[in-house]
């Protein structure tokens, strides 16, 4: 195997865990977003899978969690529909929606990259004679 195959194989080995965990994160975030209940503690469902996201996604999740903590601290203001409290709540929800979009895009990109890596690896595994034959053609 040449050195590029080693790099591709190493990338593939680290990717599957990441892919599974990212898929779980996306599915559960979708459930949280579409749920009519959406209690603050539902964010805990996502916590184990946050560890497999990019830094940008992690930052967005921490931001959403922080805003959740803030509006639960001022829950009486939220219930009485105080503008500042409601704005914080709406902003938190917008961050969660954006996080879903970003995560979905990155997951699709990762799946495409993985498929590309696999095709490349299959190409590198062809016997040298066959590769030479193709080169001549």
């Amino acid at each position: 195997m040449n050195s590029s195959s080693h790099i591709i194989t190493a990338a593939m080995k680290s990717k599957p865990n990441n892919l599974i965990a990212r898929s779980c994160f996306l599915v559960l975030l979708f459930v949280v977003l579409t749920n009519s209940i959406a209690s603050p503690q539902f964010l805990m469902w996502l916590v184990p899978f946050v560890a497999f996201l990019t830094t940008v996604e992690i930052t967005m999740f921490i931001g959403a969690s922080s805003l959740t903590w803030i509006y639960t601290k001022y829950w009486d203001d939220v219930v009485s529909l105080q503008p500042m409290a409601i704005s914080i709540l709406i902003f938190r929800n917008i961050i969660l929606i954006l996080l879903f979009v970003v995560s979905a895009v990155l997951l699709i990109k990762q799946i495409r990259d993985l498929k590309g890596h696999r095709k490349l690896l299959r190409g590198n595994r062809n016997p040298p004679n066959e590769q030479a034959g193709r080169a001549r053609i």
Binding site: I20, A21, T34, S36, I37, A38, W69, Y71, L81
Partner: protein
């Protein structure tokens, strides 16, 4: 409900201590599994801190632990045990069921495990629900379904966002009521 019953083992006096101990144990195991799967442990810790007291006082860490365990096992291609823990997670809180399609997709390339995975997923559910029905009749399950079905839109849900936005702009009047253990919102 084992996670809520187990802390009673030494009596009511030590319930809180043992409950928090269970939460801590689940957290440590989740961190270990994240490390084994190549995840960023600092991200897990950083994402817990803002949630604050909710993390310690709520039940949701236990199904989160079971789902993480299931996903770890799935990543090791042990889909039978993964299905079993998803099943236990579902019996703890409903949401882990939504991760079964991911396990199902993995089973497509591990067909030998399909039958055992189906059994390991369904048997705990059949046993537990069967026990509930045997002792309490099907009314218990029906009333649970009715309760969930009658719940309105929670104030802090995404679905309430358009209503809140319009309220901020002064375009509607909202009624907030406390029903089904949460604050529900609707227009006047």
């Amino acid at each position: 409900m084992i996670f809520l019953s187990l802390p009673n083992i030494f009596g009511e006096k030590y319930y809180t201590l043992i409950y928090y101990g269970l939460v801590a144990i689940c957290l440590v195991i989740i961190a270990y599994l994240i490390n084994k799967m190549g995840g960023k442990m600092w991200a897990m810790v950083a994402s817990i801190l803002p949630i604050g007291g909710l993390f310690w006082d709520r039940f949701d860490i236990f199904p989160a632990f079971l789902t993480m365990l299931a996903i770890f096992l799935a990543s090791r291609k042990n889909l039978v045990l993964a299905s079993f823990f998803i099943s236990l997670g579902f019996l703890t809180k409903l949401y882990p069921i939504f991760l079964m399609p991911i396990i199902a997709v993995m089973l497509l390339s591990n067909r030998k495990q399909i039958l055992n995975s189906v059994l390991s997923f369904s048997l705990p559910i059949i046993i537990i629900l069967g026990t509930i029905i045997a002792y309490g009749g099907k009314n218990g399950l029906v009333s649970f379904a009715n309760y969930q079905g009658k719940r309105g839109i929670a104030l802090d849900s995404i679905q309430a966002m358009p209503l809140l936005w319009q309220n901020l702009r002064g375009n509607n009047e909202l009624i907030i009521t406390y029903n089904h253990s949460s604050y529900e919102v609707k227009t006047k």
